[in-house]
Point group: D2
Chain length 273, copies 4
């Protein structure tokens, strides 16, 4: 068996960070070597205890660069998982690549220019880098199945359902699904009749290429997406239900393993499935 892959978690004390600590600790082919978090409340705490598991003898630090440096000295092919803030993520990724540490980025908010710039930087350094806006393998499978279906169905609507503490509608994932479908180069839902809304908004919101999205918000819901395709005599429905952050961990672990085999920047979980 090869040496385990050393992993540094940046943003270790956040909700996703703690989940990643647990997942990495339980994966036999990975080993946690550093846990960084800017929040002073957790400074010096044991990463394992913070995540609600056994002590891992990795104290939380607030210094990324020394952690990267130390990791480099000790082992090869390290990976940094970043779940921090839009403001710092660009710098974090550059630092990691500069140290030869492969970044797996779950933090959102990088601009297209920043991503382009990081891609060039990773390319020059021949260092793998993964930017993954959504680590849910289930959502990516749903989106890929939707793309396949769109080749044979001309009619589709999307319903996304979330808890009522989500402020924005529609969800980013639903928009992303609609945009993927729109890239197929056709306009969906050719009208059969002249439609009338007697209550404005009941027919949902129009995303790209005439795809309608409906957003439901209720307490008791968590995060759900339904893509409904219709044709004469049949309905084909794809639905994904998220009930716990644990659902992202298979995607995170997959990304950690894959990034060590890359020599450049890759965007999106679908590229490595």
């Amino acid at each position: 068996m090869p040496n385990p892959i050393p992993v540094i978690i940046n943003g270790a004390a956040g909700k996703m960070g703690r989940e990643v600590i647990k997942a990495v600790a339980q994966a036999p082919d990975l080993t946690l070597v550093g846990a960084v978090d800017r929040n002073p409340a957790w400074l010096g705490q044991d990463a394992g205890e913070l995540a609600g598991i056994e002590p891992l003898e990795i104290p939380i630090t607030d210094q990324l660069e020394p952690t990267l440096g130390m990791a480099v000295q000790e082992r090869e092919l390290g990976v940094m998982v970043d779940f921090t803030h839009p403001s710092g993520v660009y710098h974090n990724v550059r630092s990691a690549i500069a140290y030869g540490i492969r970044p797996v980025v779950g933090t959102t908010g990088l601009s297209s220019e920043q991503i382009q710039d990081l891609a060039e930087f990773a390319d020059k350094a021949s260092t793998g880098c993964l930017i993954i806006p959504n680590f849910s393998i289930g959502v990516v499978l749903l989106q890929q199945a939707a793309l396949q279906a769109s080749r044979h169905f001309d009619h589709v609507e999307i319903i996304e359902l979330h808890h009522n503490q989500k402020a924005d509608a529609p969800s980013g994932t639903a928009i992303q699904t609609a945009e993927l479908l729109a890239e197929m180069g056709k306009t969906y839902n050719p009208a059969q009749v002249q439609e009338t809304e007697t209550i404005p908004g009941v027919r949902g919101g129009l995303a790209a290429e005439n795809i309608r999205i409906h957003s439901v918000r209720l307490p008791g819901l968590i995060a759900h997406q339904e893509v409904i395709f219709g044709a004469p005599g049949q309905i084909y429905t794809l639905r994904h239900d998220t009930s716990d952050r644990a659902c992202y961990m298979p995607g995170v672990l997959l990304a950690i393993r894959k990034v060590t085999q890359l020599k450049n920047l890759v965007y999106g979980l679908e590229k490595i499935l």
Copy 2:
């Protein structure tokens, strides 16, 4: 066993009329005595054959009043089922009551004033009359279950889904469900956050008392309604799917049997369930 209840069907050649011919012919406690339709195309045809069953020896006529008169001479307690047009239904109902025949009215379009007027007319004549905007027992059960749920849940949204040849949105049934819930005297869905629609309309249309309705239109759908209640930690969903006009027949037969026991006008299937 008592004599079967004699039934006249007005609008016999329409889609609902034909379904009623079949249902009455198959009910042992009912007997078809007349079938009226204004459409000259079917004049003289046998009602049973028109409905796709065995001949019933009841030819289609275009004359309602003589049919009512003949029915009165022969038997007591007859019932007229009316699935015709908004323009003629008021007159049909008055005629039937004048002959002592009990109307069961599925035709929509009567104004509140007309219904009030017919109620007084039925009352004076001590004649039962049922006006039923929706004969679907399943939909009424759903609406009554939703009313019960609204006593314990403060959050609710409605999704209705129909084929894409339906021009108006939302469906009349969904509006009716929302109005029933609104009569509970509370405002639903108190906001937890300041909501933002990044695509206008995604959060659906606002019906009475802050209840949101979402209307989906796709080929392959028929007629579906979903009422979703939410509270912390739980979701309670009521769903009704219609796939065939046959689903209205239990309600029509129930109405025929009940109207003979009434002495006045009653509105709505829920009153006789």
Copy 3:
């Protein structure tokens, strides 16, 4: 405003107990006066901190009777909520009634004889007592709506879906739903054809009165129940999804408030809705 109702929680350190501490602490008309748990690990800890909220200055004790005694001295009309173990619940309820404290019992495992005995005891003492096998208002609403539907539908099947760490199938709630439907005094699902199972078990398990139950077990599921009624041309579905223990708290709070108005033992949440 009347004095808040004093509440003792027995089994306070269990999962349900902690949830009840939170719910009582947040209800303005209730006040926590005692928290009992046999597990020595929590002895002396503050109940609020144990529940993950602010300190309530109620330390966990392992002595029920002194806690009941103290509560009686200080206030009237106290309530004991019991989420403990089948072995001790009978004795707990008798003790509470003896002290004039009203029991609200969520612990399962009382035999019919024990319940009968406690009913007589509560009756003689003119003390309210509620035994509630399922505190989920949503489930009770579903079951009552199913009973209403069973008056008009002859065909029904039940699907229950739970996480794959649940060992027994079907769920107690699904059995209870089937038994309630069976009490309507009819046999469901008259056969239309001679059915054949080419893989044994695919048609599910036969509960009372020919009602079939299907049990799905998958990781990612939590606790879900679906009752599906069918008739020609229509399907009527009732579904309840539980995602968090929080869903039981409205039922617990309702029971605490209602039990103070009772003078005898009442069984089942449906009796007080």
Copy 4:
């Protein structure tokens, strides 16, 4: 625009046959040149009128071979669509290939040996031949999406729901889905606990590789299949609903167009999607 493809329908008076007549008549790139049916009741009737559309001046004949012969004389690259009976289909396909007419076979019941034999025959004649057990593009998309999902999910169960006049359970399509998943070479649903059925059969029937199938039968249902994948924190559901035979026509038309480009026998709609 190229000449339209000439099409012969064998089994033209059956339910599928009539649907195919309609679909071919409405496709501008296809032209109906023959309609064969063994049932003497329809002999000589116009195929279009039989299908409920305008007359097509193609009378129903009960002679397949002369129809094939006539088609060959007139045009090239003809296609025979066969929806007949298991007893005759092998002979029909051989005859068509002998005449150089491409068969598209929806009739089930060919044995593996017969299919192997026909494959060799088609190969020698360099004639395309499609055998399609299920023409539903939606079902094939669902099965392919399920295969993709099975690479990332280890837990899956299947629910299929049909009207209560279907005698056999589970449905052939559900068995086929389970067998496709089983071919992935892994055993699904590793147990987390020792399961107990307190009512035998509730956990469904065991198909290949530990995949459980649940079959629901109710009036009001038509034909539905649900494949549910689970993993910690997420559920991914694929569902297909059939409401009308029209749903098979896009698959039939696709097969007619594709078979003219083939030189051998191909089995399954998934091969030509």
